[in-house]
Symmetry: C2
Subunit: 481 residues, 2 copies
Amino acid sequence: MAQDTFSKEETLAMRRRLIGHSCRLFYSDDPVKIIRARGQYLYDEHGKRYLDCISNVQHVGHCHPSITEVAAAQMDLLNINTRFLHDNMVQYADRLAASLPDKLCIFYFVNSGSEANDLALRLAQQYTQHQDVIVLDHAYHGHLMSLIDISPYKFRKLSGQKEWVHVAPLPDTYRGLYREDHPNPGDAYADTVKDLIDEVHSKGRKISAFFAESLPSVGGQIIMPQGYSTKVAEYVHSAGGVFVADEVQTGFGRVGTHFWAFQLQGEGFCPDIVTMGKPMGNGHPLACVATTVEIAGAFTANGVEYFNTFGGNPVSCAIGLAVLDVIEKEDLRRNATKVGAHLKQLLTQLQTRHDIIGHVRGIGLFVGLELVTDRRTRAPATKTAAEVVKRLKEQDRICVSTDGPWENVVKFKPPMCFSIQDADLVVRCIDQNELKYCSKPLNSTKHLTLTLQIITKRSMCNINQVYFYQFSQDTRGMSFQ
Amino acid sequence: MAQDTFSKEETLAMRRRLIGHSCRLFYSDDPVKIIRARGQYLYDEHGKRYLDCISNVQHVGHCHPSITEVAAAQMDLLNINTRFLHDNMVQYADRLAASLPDKLCIFYFVNSGSEANDLALRLAQQYTQHQDVIVLDHAYHGHLMSLIDISPYKFRKLSGQKEWVHVAPLPDTYRGLYREDHPNPGDAYADTVKDLIDEVHSKGRKISAFFAESLPSVGGQIIMPQGYSTKVAEYVHSAGGVFVADEVQTGFGRVGTHFWAFQLQGEGFCPDIVTMGKPMGNGHPLACVATTVEIAGAFTANGVEYFNTFGGNPVSCAIGLAVLDVIEKEDLRRNATKVGAHLKQLLTQLQTRHDIIGHVRGIGLFVGLELVTDRRTRAPATKTAAEVVKRLKEQDRICVSTDGPWENVVKFKPPMCFSIQDADLVVRCIDQNELKYCSKPLNSTKHLTLTLQIITKRSMCNINQVYFYQFSQDTRGMSFQ
């Protein structure tokens, strides 16, 4: 295995020659080549450090040594398919069961969130013997053919909407049908699902599943209004369907206060199927479907084996167990709660100074900063959001990205070891970026204070680069290179 | 991570409680608990060794130390998604490209053979703008919803045949339409595909792809007749479709003489899409789609990103590169050629003594032993095949399994480090099992010779167990336990 064998230009040229161009790069004008990482920091081929605010897959931190150790030990001992008995899979399932409501007690291990969602769809359709699926607007559930069908984010650009797929409004209280001024947006949005079910029934069709992320991510880092899921589950169950909670992006303590984001909806709510993925193996391809005895029983009753070659193998499960151990030992849920609240508070403070910030929302280390060109109309500031992403990378070496139907929501889903200092840094840098790009610059005193604060913080790591960065920032066009 | 934390009974009880029963166990009456493995050998919780003739995933041998070393080093350094530039993916794609015909030069990395086949189907449909797919009878292409649709082995038991899926006869020259006595079975079977295309066209439908394993595996370890693929590709191309070669089970040198099984059809034949999976990461979830510039271009032209969270990450690609290195350094293709030929020769000798052996076929370490109750009618000896599998496990601690529409083909797809001695052992043990179970036992002199040969061989590893095994075998019912 080679490390940094090629120059960045060579790597890029080989990538253009050998890899399908549908596989896109971040910062396509000038992509970043990363050769090592640790915790929440990435390092490029020159050793330059980037703060990573987006790798929710590397959940407990990049290259966590205790995960590597466990993986290597298990790889040296045994990796085999699950047609043979092994302790790791059952032990892992037992640990996951302990994190979930009692009724979610049967597990299927797979290799990706997409494989999990595909299986969830099969389970739902097999159990209900119905076909139709209700999904949320702008949802994304994976790259497989079956999931493009249930992902408005994809099917609108591709094959179009199938007759068995129905799109409910995104319960977005900032931009959606019912907003923060509505007395009960949870019920109001749930009623849109009820109406949709009635419409489906009027066509003689039947609902197999309501399928939604517990916090819609691609949809724009949306926090579901309280009461929504409980009501939706009621309506869906009445129609003979099941509630699938897609926790691929949101599970494993990201929201801090709870292990699963669906638990934010209160103890009265429990989905029938939960799918998990991204953070589960800290980068190792590992995913899972949890469901009830009844749904699993219906799936078994068809008499057909479900075999997933790599799913649930001893190495994957050892890694999964190690991730759970690190979350507990390092109290990462508490860190997510604390740092997430701090980040949200800082961003909310920023909102008082910058009109372009329309909305700050989030829970734990799942945070969105929605930019608008006009607070009244809430017109999305798509271009500025892209500029913020680009400048944060170029000037501050901070990686963020955007989400939402208009790509105007700057998202934060960092590794769970993200610190108070990291939050301070990113918010200060956003503040700086705003200064150059937004209509209402701060006065120079404020600017100076911030600049000095950044210098103080950053000089601890690399003073030369910080000064260079500050000069090039403050002198607006003058070059010191 | 725990090793052998629970007794086998406890593990089994937990599995029954926690894991969907659709996930089946080998030897369901008395499953095997494996806790470590090395090369072609598995070890149970009592340290008892099993010879593994079926783990084609652990391609270069279980727990190969150089793979573990590379994986651990890369896990410690970096694991990140492919929106960042990294050398491993492009380097790996470059190495794979070198193994393929020039036109197959664009790669997409995914996590399982199923994900690869799903993407292949998308690529084919996007490129051709046609929908229909021709597959071989009894084919299995994966567990995803899209792949159940194109897998007669699955859809016949589940959702049934879709109107856009068409099933061509399996080109099986032992049991199929055209047999060993046909002057040109390759052309004859290809003509069945031509006829099917004509039928599809007569319905006003259009072919997107012909989708087939290069050597049908679940179909019964079938060796395609010469000329078949070239002719089929001609017909499919004329219809505006593409040829997808599923190499998930057969690639990476398993056939010995060639790196890819499709290459057995001669240099004149080249598929338009090749999918890879199982052996690619020696157990690590790693898979890939290779295709042409034109097909990849059409996929890019739809303007939609293809993003696979784990696919092509630096750890997966480092492992993939390490597997290629081991195949080369240990000359495993030559070993597969040599040991596979030896195994086939021994089984062919066995055929001269046992009427129940209807057919021996294979290439490299992809070998099938088809059992029949009557050589003339070729009636499948399904029950005996199951008994052979069971007895080999119980008495000889050798793992084989069955395939084929009647589950009467004993299959051999061992790790590529399988040795001449391993082949000798398994064939002698099959011979012994036959002695007890088949209608025409050998005469006692022959039996004695074989028994002594086995004692000689096996005594090298564990003389006590061998003697015990021989006693219990030879005394037919007397117990020495």
